[in-house]
Amino acid sequence: MSLLEIKGLTIHYETRESVISAVNGLDLSIDESKTLGLVGETGAGKTTTALGVMRLVPDPPGKILGGEILFEGKDLLKATDNEIRKIRGNDISMIFQDPMTALNPIIRIGDQIAEVIQLHGNCSKTEAMVRSLKMLETVGIQPERSIEYPHQFSGGMKQRVVIAMALACSPKLLIADEPTTALDVTIQAQVLELMNELKQQNKTSMLLITHDLGIVAETCDEVAIMYAGEIVEYGSLAQIFRNALHPYTIGLFGSIPSLDKDVDRLNPIQGLMPDPADLPEGCKFHERCNFIDEKCETGELETVEVEPGHFVRCLRVAKGEI
């Protein structure tokens, strides 16, 4: 059974002027000790999905309009505030993109980590502190530095602190929202390796949100490609990287300058993401698609399983035309 199953999740941001459809009927599932990569561009709804799972969508203006989020068979959307508070940080925890703003600048980092442990671990302050020091050691920071403040750490070190905090209660599911985007490549490599090691040790499942297909290739088991609030393609790592079918996925791969091959000109996707407050009818990608036919502009879309475990949301792929 999968650890997390999202069915038909719909999240809108309602403002006085407009309704922004951030997530539209999204289906996803993550199995135990597996990593799912959620890939998409700015504004695709990746972070909103993650916040939805944590029930952290700011309301107002955010509204979770429908769907189910089953975590170990229990619907998180029906859980009371008290129940969800017990799950957050304990069973599901999150690593945010920007380590500079994820830490409280006026609390010593040792205390910040101990706070999570004390809250969920039913233990005394001293015991929490002991475990906090141990966590620091696990992520490669000398325990003596626990009395320092966030500004005394570099970006990579801060992200290690955030990882220590997220993993302090050995969560079953870790949501990492662009955990290395703010870091330099050499530091990124170190942080990714650390996350992989800890994940394997603790058998943690992970939802990794990123826009970097290179990181996906190195860390994920399954991949979901997100566009305008929908999953347009979903499959195993091999299915997506060897046999991408959705025109958007193909376009994404064409946009990255390659290190292995020499390409004179890139093949970018034309145009821009549609405005989430005014999404087009039919296929949401049709305005930028090279394979468009009339039905794409109006037709009802369905997600089709083209081979076991490989899902695509495209009319023309469904008809076997691409």
């Binding site: 561009e41 700015t42 570099s154 990579g156 070190m157 330099d184 490549v185 050499t186 530091i187 990124q188 490599a189 170190q190 990714l192 390796e193 826009h211 970097d212 297909l213 290179g214 990181i215 996906v216 290739a217 190195e218 790592l237 091999a238 990287f241 060897r242 376009g251 994404l252 791969f253 064409g254 946009s255 990255i256 300058p257 390659s258 290190l259 292995d260 020499d262 390409v263 000109r265 890139l266 093949n267 970018p268 996707i269 034309q270 821009l272």
Partner: protein, 319 residues
């Protein structure tokens, strides 16, 4: 090919309370007309400072800059203003580099006003020309930056840089703030413009795949010094400097058949303030020997047109 820009032993130090910060330390290179020099390195390695010093947006501490056979190292303020017509810059952040109170047409026309070019009608015509050139629809002429997305804003930045028909442009991380699909559009635009107008670029970035795609030569910088410089494809085939090797192994490759190399680079950038007389890369280098502690290595040509600053480069690479 004709030399456009020559930089010799360029140094830029900043005074800090803790001592001199060596942002750029003894950098030399030559760029030919119509070519692109890619400058790569981590944050804090001095790559942006280098771009700005070359344009004389920052005063240099020591060294020489020659542009079109003319020494511009110590030219007067007035001459350097005239020089800006020839040398321009595209900034990293299309959000903060545009005045939010000017519309697109005013933003692009601004350089033309500063240099008193064209009359009012001629200017508007030139603005439209530039908008066509960078692929910005004319209907946006009277929109304000906040109404546009990052890709379109960066096109404004490109149009502004092109307004005075310069020969040389410093592109300071022009695509880092953009999504991949938009990034590819801007890269193609920059390449097309280069081909059309025989432009010369310095392309500053931290993204190695982007720099490989667009550059003729690549300069790898580490803590203000040149670590390695050679032809673009050569660098990826034969990285000789331990830092370049580490940098290349650290990039996640979007190919599942790619064998992941173990992490080679440990630790972080050391401080650029009052560096000791030793190899700057010492603390992170796994090949370090006693020689490396005894003095800074020199920049040497190990193979034709392939320069490396490392004491042990021959031993490490069996040259």
């Amino acid at each position: 090919m004709a030399e456009l820009l020559k930089v010799e032993h360029l140094k830029k130090y900043f005074a800090t309370p803790a001592g001199q910060l060596h942002a750029v330390d003894d950098v030399s290179f030559v760029i030919n007309k119509g070519e692109t020099l890619g400058v790569v390195g981590e944050s804090g390695c001095g790559k942006s400072t280098l771009g700005r010093v070359v344009l004389k947006l920052l005063d240099l501490t020591d060294g020489r800059i020659v542009f079109e056979d003319r020494d511009i190292t110590s030219i007067s303020e007035k001459d350097s203003i005239a020089l800006r017509k020839e040398m321009q810059i595209i900034f990293q952040d299309p959000y903060s580099s545009l005045n939010p109170r000017l519309c697109v047409s005013e933003l692009i026309g601004d350089p033309l006003i500063v240099y008193k070019m064209y009359n009012k009608d001629g200017r508007q015509k030139r603005v439209y020309e530039l908008m066509d050139l960078v692929g910005l629809a004319r209907r946006f002429a009277f929109s304000y930056p906040h109404e546009l997305d990052g890709g379109r804003r960066q096109r404004i930045g490109v149009a502004r840089a092109l307004a005075l028909s310069p020969k040389f442009i410093v592109c300071d991380e022009p695509v880092s703030a953009l999504d991949v699909s938009i990034q590819a559009q801007i890269l193609n635009l920059l390449q097309d413009l280069q081909a059309q107008q025989n432009l010369t670029y310095i392309f500053v970035t931290h993204d190695l795949s982007v720099v490989k795609h667009i550059s003729t030569d690549i300069l790898v910088m580490y803590l203000g010094v040149m670590a390695e410089k050679c032809e673009s494809k050569e660098l990826f085939r034969k990285p000789y400097h331990p830092y370049t090797k580490g940098l290349l192994s650290a990039i996640p490759v979007p190919n599942i058949d790619h064998v992941k190399r173990p992490v080679e680079l440990l630790g972080e950038l050391t401080s650029p303030i009052e560096p000791k007389d030793e190899c700057r890369f010492l603390a992170r280098c796994k090949y370090a020997t006693d020689v490396c502690r005894q003095g800074a290595p020199t920049y040497q040509e190990v193979e034709p047109n392939h320069f490396v600053t490392c004491h042990n480069v021959r031993e490490i690479n069996n040259l």
